[in-house]
Symmetry: C2
Subunit: 657 residues, 2 copies
C-alpha cells in the first residue's frame, strides 16, 4: 500500500464502511453485492484481456464472449434478482458494454409486453433460449427523435397474409441499434403500417434477419456494422436495409393494435402506459451518470493523493497534488455532485416504484410530473457528468490521457447517454413544456401540487423586485429556498418570452422556438433546485453524526458552488446581494479545505473494486507507477523490439536521401 | 450538391472568397495554399486508408509511412517555406498527427540551438539525413511541470571522459515523448548533471538509444511504447529507462554550459532567450485551437443545414435542425469563437515576430508581458476549444458519435493541448503572477504600459462601488471597456484575497495557494478581455462592407454571450445593471437569427477541404446519407458476413441451454 494513500485513510473523520451501507441501502445489501462481486473476481472463466490492447474485431469478439458467459454464469450461480444481476454485470463489464445488451433491455421486454398470448408462446421460449437473438430497430439513418418522420414501411398483402417491409430510401435504413450488425438473427422493426390503402403510423414487427442455423443474412436483408464509433467498440451497432422482405401476418406484435387476415386494422387502446417505461429507463440513466461520475472521481482523487508535483513552499518536498487549491476546486465539487446524483437516482427509483404501485391501482395523477421531471433530470445529470468526467481526466495531467487511467474509456462509453433515450436538448424542452404549462395553470388560479408547487407562490410574480435578502448561505434549507425562487424566476422569464413573441404575432410554435434558449435555462434551474433539495432531504436520513457532518459539507459545497457558477441568476432575481455572492466564493474555498482530509475516504465509500475501475491511476493500493510500467509493456506495439515500419519506410528513406 | 446546402450558399450576404483571403492574409496566400493542397490531393502516393478502420499497429505503420512520404515529397516539390510546409503537412495529416513530429519540432531545433560548432558538424547532417532520427525526452513518469523534480541523472566519469546516465527509480523513466517508443534511434535526454561531486541541475544530452543500422535497442536501454491513449494512435509516445548508459563527454549539448574533460563545470550565460521559444510554441497551439474549432464548426453547421428533424410547426415538413434556436445557440457562439481565436492566433504570431525583431536588437522590454499573456491565452483558448468540439459533436445527434463524423478524432487529437507545453492551470497561474505583480506595481504608483495598463486606471480601486452604467451593449468599443473593467475587478479581488490570507499569518506561498481559484479567475477575465479586444480591433482592418457587417455581428455575439455566461461578474462589479443583463440575453437571441442566413457561408470561408475534414457529415456537397452508408460498408466488421464469434460463442451457447 502506498504510504500517502494509507495516511489519507487514517485521517478520515468518519467510518467509510457505514457510508457504503448508506449508498447500498443497508449493510445486508453491501454484503450481498460484495459476495456477487467476489464470485466474478474469483472465477477464472471471467478473466479477460484488457480491451485497450484489442482491435475492434477482437473487442467485439470478447464482448460476445462475455455476453455468453454472463448468461451461463448467472444460471450456474442461480442469480435471478434484477438488482443482483445488475451487480454481477457491472463487475463483469468493467467500463465497457454488453454486446447483447439490447436482447435483454429491449427485445425481450418488448416481447413480454407486446405479444398476444399466441405470439408469446412462440417467441418467448425462442428468445429466452437464445435461438432467437434480437434487437430493437427504431432509429433510422435520417430519423431519430421524430417518430412520425420514420420512413420504413410495412404494407399488408392480404393475398399471402404477409407484411412486406421496405426501406424506400437510404435515409430510411435502420441505423444504430446495438447488436443489429452482426449478433442478432431477429429484430423488432418499427415501421409505418399501411393496410387496405390506409396509413396507421408506427407499429412493431418481428423480422427474422439472419438464418437461425447458419447466421447468414436472409434474402432481401442488407445488414451490417455501422463502423467504428467513439467508444462502444464491443457493440455492433448496425444498419438494416429491407428490400421487399415478407413476414407472416402474425409477426406484427398484436397485443394492442391488430391487423386481421383480410387487412382490417384494429386500433389499440390508449398508449399511456409506455410513459412508465420511459421514466424507468431515464432513472437507470441517472444511475449510470452517478456511477460513471463516482468512478471518475475515485480515480482522479486517489491519483491526486499519490501524485507529487511542483512546490507550494520552496525547499519543501513536492506536495501531493490534492493539496493545490485549484485541484481541489476541480475535483471536490464533482465529488459532491457524484453524491448528489447518487441520491437523485435513488430518489427516482423509489418514486418510480411508488408511482408504479399507484398506476397499477389506476392512479395516474403523479405520472405527468414524474415523466417531465425524469426527462429534465436525465439531461441535467448526463450533461453535467459528461463534462465532469473530462475534468477528472484532465486533472490527472498527462497520465489521464493514457488508456491505463480508464478515464478515456469511461468517457467514451458514457457520453452517448446525452443523446440516446431522448436527446438532451429535446428532454430539457419536454420538461420546460410541463413547467410552462404548470406556470400558466398557476397564473390561471389553479393550485399546483407536487414539485412545481413553488409556481403557486405569490412572490414569483415579482421578477425584478428586490427580494428580502435574509438568506443564510450556511443553511441548506435556506439555499433550497433560494434555488426554488431562482427556478420560479427563470420559468417566469421563459413564459414571458413566449408571451412577448406572441405579441409580435408569432405563431404559438414560433414563439416557443424563439424562446427555446430560455426554456432550456428554466429546466436547468428547475432540475438544479430538485437536486439540491433531494441532497438536502437525504441528510435527514443520515443518523451517524460524523457521516452527517461530512455529507452536510458536501451538500453545502454542491449548493454554493452552483450559486457561484450561476451568480448572475441569483443577483438578477434579487435573491442574493453582492456581498453575499462574494461571501459564497470565500465559503466555497473554505469548504474545499474542510473536505480535504476526507476526500480519499469519500471516494473509497463508493466501494468500486479495482476490477470495475480497471484503472492504474485509481488503484486502491495507490501503487501507480510500477503498474503503469507493467501495463505499458503489454502494449501491442511492444510485441516486437523493432516495428516492421522501420524496414518498410525508415531504412528506405535514409537510402533515398 | 445537396439542395439545402446550395440554398444556404445562395442566401449568404457576403463574398465568401473575400473572407477567405482575410483569413489567409491576402489573395496570394490563398492561391498558394490551395495550390499546395491540390498537389497533395492529386498525388496518388499520398492517398491513405481511413485511419478509423485500422488497428493501433496499422495506424502507427501508416503514420511512419506518411512521415517518410512528407519528407520525400517536400523535397520533390521543392517546398521549403515554413508556412508552405505547414499547409502541406496539414492536408496530408488530416485530423491525425505526424509520427515523426518531434524530430522536426524538438530534436532538430535543439541541435540547431544548443550544439557547439563541432557538435553541429557531427549531428546536424546525421539528423537532416534521418540517419539519426530523434526525439526530446524531458517528461518523466513521475515528473512533468517541475523541472527540479526530474530524477534522471548524468554523472561525469573523468576516467573515461563519459557521462553515465541512469533512471534510478521507476518514476524517473522518461515517459510520453512522441516518437520515443519505436521510431527514434536518438533522444535528447534531459538529466540532472553531477560532476566532481557537485550537482548542476538539468542539462541536455544526446543519447543513442537504438543501433543506427539494425534499430535494435542498445545495451542498458529499455525502450518501448507507453500503450494506447486517447487519440494519437499513430504516435509512439514512449518510455526510456537508462541503466548505466555511457555516452561520450561531447554528447552533452555544449553551446552554453560545458563540462571540461577533467569534469570542471562551466556555467551558461543567462537563459532568457528560451522565453521566446515558449511564446512561439504557445502561439502555434492557439492556432491549433482555432483550426480544430473551425473544423468542428464546419462539420456541425454544414450537417445541421442538411439534417431535417422533428417539427417546429405541425404539418410542415421537418425543418433543417439549424432552424432550432437551441441548435443556433449551441453552434453560433462557437463559430464566433472560432473567428475570435483565429484572429488571436494571427495577433500572437505578428506580435511574436515584431518582438523577436526587438529582441534581436537587444530590447527585451515587451517579452515578460507577451510571455505571460501567451501562457494564459494558450490555456484560455485550448480549454474553450476542448469543450466546444464536444458541443459540436453532440449537436450532430447520434451521427456525431460515429468516427465517420471525424469529430471524435478531432477531439481526441486536440485535447492534449490542454496539458502539454504547459498544463493549463499552471499556465493560468503563470499569467496571474504577472497580473498580480503588475497590480502591485500600479498600486505602488508605477505607471504600467501595454495590455495591463488598465490596472493603472483610478477607477479599478472601487470594487463594490456602483459604476456609471452608460454601457451601450450594441457598441463593441463599449463592451471592450466593460470586459477590461471586469478584468481589473477580478485581478484586484485575487490580489486582495492574497492580502487577506497574509493577514491571517499565512506564508506568501500558502496565501498564493489559498487564492489560486481567484487567480485563475482573474487570468480568465484578463484573457477574455484580450480576445474581445483583438476581435474588435480586427474589424478595423476589414474594408468590405458586407464582410464588416457579418464580422461585427459575430464579434458582438462573442462579447455578449460571454457577458451572458458570466453575468454575475458584471453585476457584482456594478458594470452592468439587471435590465442590461436581461437585455443582453434578448440581444443574443436576436443575433442568432441574424447570423442564421450566413452560417454555412461563414464556415465555408475557413476553406477546409474535404480531405482535411475527413468527415462524412461535414462534406462540402452536403451529400451525407449515401456516403455514410458507403463508409459503414468499409467497416472491418463487415469484411465477413458472419463474424467468427457466432461460431465460437453464440452457437455453443444455444447448445448449452
Amino acid at each position: 500500500m502506498n504510504p500517502d494513500i494509507m495516511r489519507e485513510r487514517r485521517n478520515a473523520t468518519f467510518d467509510v464502511e457505514k457510508l457504503t451501507h448508506i449508498l447500498d441501502g443497508g449493510p445486508e445489501k453491501t454484503k450481498r453485492r460484495r459476495k456477487i462481486e467476489s464470485m466474478v473476481l474469483s472465477d477464472p472463466d471471467l478473466k479477460e484481456e484488457d480491451p485497450s490492447f484489442l482491435s475492434r474485431s477482437e473487442n467485439y469478439d470478447q464482448g460476445v464472449k462475455k455476453s455468453a458467459q454472463i448468461i451461463l454464469k448467472l444460471r450456474e450461480y442461480g442469480i435471478a434478482d434484477p438488482e443482483e444481476i445488475y451487480y454481477f454485470k457491472n463487475i463483469v463489464k468493467g467500463n465497457r458494454h454488453e454486446s447483447m445488451r439490447l436482447h435483454f433491455t429491449m427485445f425481450l421486454p418488448t416481447l413480454y409486453g407486446q405479444c398476444d398470448p399466441q405470439q408469446s408462446r412462440k417467441w418467448i421460449p425462442l428468445a429466452e433460449s437464445f435461438q432467437a437473438v434480437g434487437t430493437y430497430a427504431q432509429t433510422e439513418m435520417g430519423h431519430g427523435t421524430h417518430l412520425r418522420g420514420m420512413e420504413t414501411t410495412a404494407t399488408y398483402d392480404p393475398a399471402t397474409q404477409e407484411f412486406v417491409l421496405n426501406s424506400p430510401t437510404v435515409s430510411s435504413m435502420k441505423w444504430w441499434p446495438g447488436g443489429l450488425g452482426k449478433t442478432s438473427n431477429h429484430a423488432i422493426v418499427l415501421a409505418q403500417l399501411y393496410t387496405q390503402g390506409n396509413f396507421h403510423g408506427l407499429h412493431a414487427f418481428i423480422v427474422p434477419i439472419r438464418d437461425m442455423d447458419t447466421h447468414v443474412p436472409l434474402p432481401g436483408i442488407v445488414v451490417g456494422d455501422i463502423g467504428p464509433k467513439f467508444g462502444f467498440s464491443e457493440v455492433d451497432n448496425g444498419f438494416l436495409k429491407l428490400e421487399n422482405v415478407r413476414i407472416p401476418r402474425d409477426n406484427m406484435l398484436m397485443k394492442y393494435a391488430k391487423v386481421e387476415p383480410d387487412g382490417t386494422y384494429l386500433k389499440p387502446p390508449s398508449a399511456k402506459l409506455t410513459y412508465g417505461t420511459m421514466v424507468f429507463v431515464r432513472s437507470v440513466i441517472v444511475g449510470e451518470a452517478a456511477f460513471a461520475l463516482s468512478k471518475s472521481c475515485t480515480i482522479a482523487i486517489r491519483y491526486s493523493s499519490v501524485r507529487h508535483q511542483s512546490e507550494i513552499r520552496p525547499g519543501d518536498p513536492e506536495p501531493q497534488i490534492l493539496d493545490y487549491q485549484t485541484q481541489q476546486y476541480k475535483l471536490f465539487p464533482l465529488l459532491a455532485m457524484a453524491y448528489a446524483f447518487t441520491f437523485v437516482s435513488q430518489y427516482m427509483r423509489q418514486t418510480y416504484r411508488r408511482i408504479s404501485g399507484d398506476i397499477n391501482q389506476g392512479d395516474f395523477s403523479e405520472l405527468p410530473e414524474l415523466h417531465a421531471l425524469s426527462a429534465g433530470l436525465k439531461a441535467f445529470t448526463t450533461w453535467a457528468t459528461n463534462s465532469a468526467i473530462e475534468v477528472c481526466r484532465m486533472s490527472c495531467g498527462g497520465h489521464g490521457y493514457s488508456c491505463s487511467s480508464a478515464l478515456p474509456d469511461i468517457y467514451v462509453n458514457f457520453t452517448p447517454t446525452c443523446t440516446y433515450e431522448g436527446e438532451n436538448t429535446v428532454m430539457m424542452l419536454q420538461t420546460a413544456r410541463f413547467l410552462v404549462k404548470s406556470y400558466r395553470q398557476a397564473k390561471a388560479g389553479q393550485q399546483l401540487s407536487g414539485i412545481v408547487s413553488y409556481l403557486n407562490e405569490p412572490k414569483h410574480g415579482q421578477l425584478l423586485a428586490a427580494r428580502p435578502t435574509v438568506v443564510d448561505i450556511n443553511d441548506l434549507a435556506s439555499l433550497v429556498e433560494v434555488y426554488k425562487l431562482r427556478a420560479a424566476t427563470l420559468v417566469e422569464l421563459a413564459a414571458k418570452s413566449i408571451q412577448q413573441e406572441l405579441q409580435l404575432r408569432k405563431s404559438q410554435e414560433d414563439a416557443w422556438n424563439n424562446s427555446a434558449v430560455d426554456l432550456v435555462r428554466a429546466t436547468d434551474a428547475h432540475c438544479h433546485y430538485v437536486v439540491v433539495k433531494i441532497f438536502t432531504d437525504k441528510l435527514g436520513e443520515v443518523g451517524d453524526t460524523s457521516i452527517h457532518s461530512v455529507m452536510s459539507t458536501l451538500a453545502l459545497l454542491y449548493a454554493l458552488n452552483g450559486i457561484k457558477n450561476n451568480s448572475g441568476d441569483f443577483l438578477q432575481a434579487g435573491l442574493l446581494n453582492v456581498p453575499q455572492v462574494l461571501q459564497v466564493s470565500v465559503r466555497v474555498k473554505e469548504l474545499l479545505s474542510q473536505l480535504r482530509p476526507n476526500a480519499v475516504a469519500l471516494v473509497d465509500a463508493f466501494d468500486h473494486r479495482d476490477k470495475t475501475l480497471n484503472s492504474v491511476l485509481g488503484r486502491y493500493d495507490g501503487n501507480v507507477y510500477e503498474n503503469l510500467f507493467a501495463w505499458a509493456r503489454r502494449s501491442p506495439l511492444n510485441s516486437t523490439e523493432v516495428h516492421e515500419s522501420f524496414h518498410k519506410y525508415l531504412k528506405p528513406l535514409q537510402a533515398k536521401l
